[in-house]
């Protein structure tokens, strides 16, 4: 498809603003002014057709099934999109005085309370812009907590080998050394190995539960005891909270800090990769380290921004959070209520187990356990050897059937992994259709492997040459190039 640069024609354009002539040299020194600005010029209809055309070269949840493990690609309710755009929200300036933004502050305060209840924590900050920034916030708080106690020697963060890549990247960004702990044969944290790596150097253990294999670590309390016993704290990566909403809370499992992904569990759209929102919850002992500001309810019942946080780690981003995302998550929580959220977890886990049951016996299952909201499988162990067909090929072949493939080659501890998360919003028919497609591809791989290995065949482009993109980088367009 053309780029906006291909569409350029000098002199085109639509006027959105008054067109009077302005001589900037009257106001600014000439030396400060720019000579040329080589941006493309397009008529409005070209712009609309261009971006409509681009949208059609995308697959979203609204286009079809999207079982991308660890990402919780659930349906994004349309009411959320309407409420976030209400003029009172969309046009509120962050520097308006508190008495003119009481509605926004009340919404944020209530959302803080709701997320505390859902996670079992004592205080929540809505500031982090995304899950990864929530992690960074949480780990900086843990660092500040130890330091304030004079416990300067805690330089290590322990991370299981099944963890998301953001966990070690975050720990490193906060100045910690990363220590890996392996998983045991049941897919949980290997307790002996954990005993061996915890020490007076341990600042924290970062854990996802259920973990990235979709398995609930039943020994979570023992794990918590080991880490707490050594003076470390427990960090909960909330990526998989959808599985246990209303069933089990990180706060009750022994976690000290959690981050949530509102764009996963609380239905705010993924937006093609952002904006997300990653609120952080903490136990009382860490409350004084929260980023500034939080929202507070004052004695007279009004709401305000609280900058009086004694040992705050500071500010994580401009202003108070991705407010537009907070409105969507609040809308979702009010739509569902407590009972509805419990139902979300129940149906998410039901759907995952149903899909696994449909695939069982045909795919390799590394762990014979009841998964929660997602599960990890791999092609039969001899498929690659016999046919040359790999997980990547199966994923690419799925594209021909207008479904999004699962997450592949993650977690790293399962060879040729496929990680499937159907979410609660899919019908049984969709799950059946997907299982049939996947089983069909497996059969095809044995009978006609070339078709699978050269897939996709029906997409707007085929497999792209990633090596060429690095070898001969072309990272931008220039007008007239």
């Amino acid at each position: 498809m053309n780029t906006i640069f291909d569409e350029h024609e000098a002199g085109r354009g639509t006027s959105y603003l008054p067109e009077r002539e302005i001589d900037l040299a009257r106001y600014l020194p000439r030396s400060a002014l720019r000579a040329e600005l080589a941006l493309p010029e397009l008529a409005e209809i070209q712009v609309v057709r261009h971006f409509t055309g681009l949208s059609r070269r995308n697959h979203g949840v609204d286009s079809g099934f999207y079982p991308l493990g660890s990402c919780t690609m659930k349906y994004n309710p349309k009411i959320n999109e309407d409420t976030a755009r209400l003029p009172g929200f969309a046009s509120a300036h962050p520097y308006q005085s508190e008495e003119t933004v009481q509605g926004a502050l009340q919404l944020m305060w209530e959302l803080q309370q709701d997320l505390q209840e859902i996670t079992g924590m004592d205080a929540v900050s809505l500031q982090p812009a995304a899950g990864a920034q929530g992690e960074f916030t949480g780990i900086l708080m843990i660092r500040a907590y130890h330091r304030l106690r004079g416990d300067e020697g805690r330089t290590q963060v322990i991370i299981p080998d099944s963890a998301h890549g953001t966990n070690p990247a975050t720990a490193a960004m906060a100045g910690f050394e990363v220590v890996h702990v392996p998983s045991d044969e049941r897919g949980g944290v290997d307790l002996d190995a954990l005993h061996a790596v915890v020490s007076e150097k341990t600042a924290a253990l970062m854990l996802t539960n259920p973990n990235t294999l979709g398995l609930f670590d039943e020994r979570i309390q023992e794990i918590a005891q080991v880490v707490h016993g050594a003076g470390g704290l427990l960090y909960y990566d909330g990526a998989n909270l959808n599985a246990v909403l209303g069933r089990s809370r990180p706060g009750d499992m022994g976690f000290d800090v959690v981050h949530l992904n509102l764009h996963k569990t609380f239905s705010t759209p993924h937006g093609g990769g952002g904006p997300g929102s990653g609120p952080v919850g903490v136990k009382a002992a860490l409350k004084d380290f929260l980023p500034m500001p939080t929202v507070t309810q004052r004695a007279d019942g009004s709401y305000g921004l609280d900058y009086e946080i004694p040992h705050s780690i500071g500010q994580m981003r401009s202003f108070y959070g991705n407010f537009g995302m907070l409105v969507r998550a609040y809308t979702y929580i009010r739509s569902l209520g407590g009972e509805g959220l419990l139902g979300v977890a129940d149906d998410a886990v039901l759907n995952a187990n149903y899909l696994l049951a449909r695939l069982r016996g045909s795919f390799y299952e590394p762990y014979d356990r009841t998964p929660k909201h997602e599960f990890v499988i791999a092609p039969p162990r001899d498929l690659k050897k016999e046919t040359g067909v790999r997980t990547l090929d199966i994923a690419k072949r799925l594209l021909d059937f207008s479904v999004h493939p699962p997450t592949v080659y993650f977690p790293l501890i399962v060879d040729e992994a496929m990680m499937l998360e159907p979410t609660e919003t899919e019908t049984r028919e969709t799950l059946d259709a997907f299982a049939d497609i996947l089983l069909g591809i497996l059969k095809e791989a044995q009978e006609d492997p070339e078709v699978v290995k050269t897939a996709p065949h029906d997409t707007v482009v085929g497999r792209l040459d990633e090596a060429k993109a690095v070898r001969a980088p072309r990272l931008r367009e220039t007008l007239g190039a």
Partner: protein
């Protein structure tokens, strides 16, 4: 269970296939001691009609900038957003997709990012740009991390005239790597190149905003030279609208150009979601944080786009990644790409020029009013003034005239007690500026 499609029959049939009796059985491995044995204490779920009513009533408790005439700025701007943007942003193939790991069915998102990178590179005059960051503040912080990674130096110099929010976030991020953040003080509202040259000794970078938070033009050429003389990188922070009319960072030798993309078609939305951008010189390609999209071809020679240079990123590189950032601000980058495509060079210039003209007309009209310009240097579309009356009281008075603002600078700069900031965008008509002038003159009188 508003959004679940299952009937009781569905659930029963599915459980049968699974071989479980009840859904509870699927949770049997969660130890009783960590189960929640009571309902979540939340308000009961509401039907859509009631939810809309509830949210509308909350929204109406805010005084919104569409009802009021806003002169509030300071990093978030009430600019005109063409109708096309809202329409395109609601195309759900864009907003219900995730990060483009499967390139073949994500060409829409990938090409948008490629075009966004191109437009940012042109606006900033830099060699290349990445796919976007959370906001302007984190873009500044990531820029400093890049400079630290490149130079190995732990000192970061930032002009005090840089947005206080950006400086606050910079300090938080710096904590992780034990970086020392040093501020170049205000000299008549600006950074002094000689002072910066001294401070930049052994520094990783010098960070300057132009026009700065107080609305004043800095001397980017001299400041950039001062940074380079000390072997420090120069990180330029600029409002993308101002880039349409001011010399771009790439022209005066900046190494990294960052800023807040909110003015490009994104509503102020009480502080977020916004859009951080980052452009760099070619030399820093492998140090850039976050996503980068590149053009390539498929086996039939068809042009296509992929995420590239991913070995910098957390999902490959884990603890050795250049940043922990996972995705970008996809939908906000889409808004900005559409905005710049619609406005074109003339529209972008006009937005900047109308704003600058309005601010200067405001300054002229206030002469002799008791509201005096706080600093002498040339300024853009924001005006720092010394107020003869208390800023809070002033805000309350203006609100009664339907005006939002000013920003009380003492909130952010304790040394600027009694100073205010007024911001003018292209949305402010001459009549609205008159209304503000009249209200200010009445207050002062």
């Amino acid at each position: 269970m508003r959004f679940s499609p299952h009937t009781a029959e569905d659930r029963a049939a599915m459980l049968k296939v699974i071989g479980a009796e009840r859904v509870d059985d699927l949770f049997a491995d969660i130890p009783r001691s960590v189960r929640l044995n009571r309902p979540l204490n939340l308000p009961a779920g509401l039907p859509e009609m009631e939810v809309r009513r509830l949210l509308t009533s909350l929204a109406q408790r805010n005084a919104d900038g569409d009802q009021m005439v806003s002169f509030l700025g300071g990093g978030a701007y009430d600019r005109y957003i063409p109708s096309v943007i809202g329409e395109m942003l609601r195309r759900s193939e864009f907003y219900t997709s995730y990060t483009p790991y499967q390139a073949e069915i994500s060409q829409g998102t990938l090409q948008v990012i490629f075009e966004f990178q191109s437009l940012i590179a042109i606006l900033t005059g830099m060699d290349l740009a990445q796919a976007s960051l959370y906001d302007g503040a984190t873009a500044v912080a990531e820029g400093a991390m890049l400079a630290y990674g490149h130079t190995g130096r732990r000192r970061v110099v930032v002009a005090r005239s840089v947005d206080p929010q950006y400086r606050a976030v910079l300090r938080t991020y710096a904590e992780g790597h034990d970086l020392e953040v040093v501020e170049a003080p205000l000299r008549d509202g600006r950074a002094d190149p000689d002072e910066v040259r001294r401070l930049a000794e052994n520094a990783a970078c010098v960070i300057v905003q132009h026009p700065n938070f107080l609305g004043l033009l800095e001397e980017p050429e001299a400041l950039c030279e001062a940074a380079h003389a000390a072997g420090a990188l120069y990180i330029a922070v600029q409002d993308p609208i101002s880039l349409a009319v001011l010399r771009p960072p790439g022209e005066y030798g900046a190494d990294v150009a960052v800023g807040e993309g909110q003015p490009l078609g994104i509503p102020v939305s009480f502080g977020g979601p916004y859009l951080g951008y980052m452009g760099v010189k070619q030399d820093y390609l492998r140090r850039i944080p976050g996503r980068i999209v590149g053009e390539t071809t498929d086996h039939d020679g068809r042009k296509g786009y992929v995420l590239t240079f991913q070995t910098r990123e957390q999902h490959i590189r884990r603890e050795r990644a250049t940043s922990n950032i996972c995705t970008n601000q996809g939908l906000m980058a889409l808004a900005a790409t559409i905005y710049v495509s619609l406005m074109g060079p003339r529209g972008m210039r006009q937005a900047a020029a109308l704003s600058i003209e309005g601010a200067h007309q405001l300054a002229d009209a206030l002469e002799g009013s008791g509201f005096r310009r706080a600093f002498a240097g040339p300024f853009g579309s924001e005006l720092a003034l010394r107020s003869p009356v208390d800023a809070n009281a002033l805000g309350a008075t203006l609100r009664r005239s339907g005006i939002l603002g000013p920003l009380d600078l003492a909130r952010l700069y304790p040394e600027l007690e009694g100073h205010i900031l007024l911001s003018v965008t292209e949305r402010r008509t001459p009549e609205e500026i008159d209304r503000l002038v009249k209200a200010l003159r009445e207050v002062a009188a």
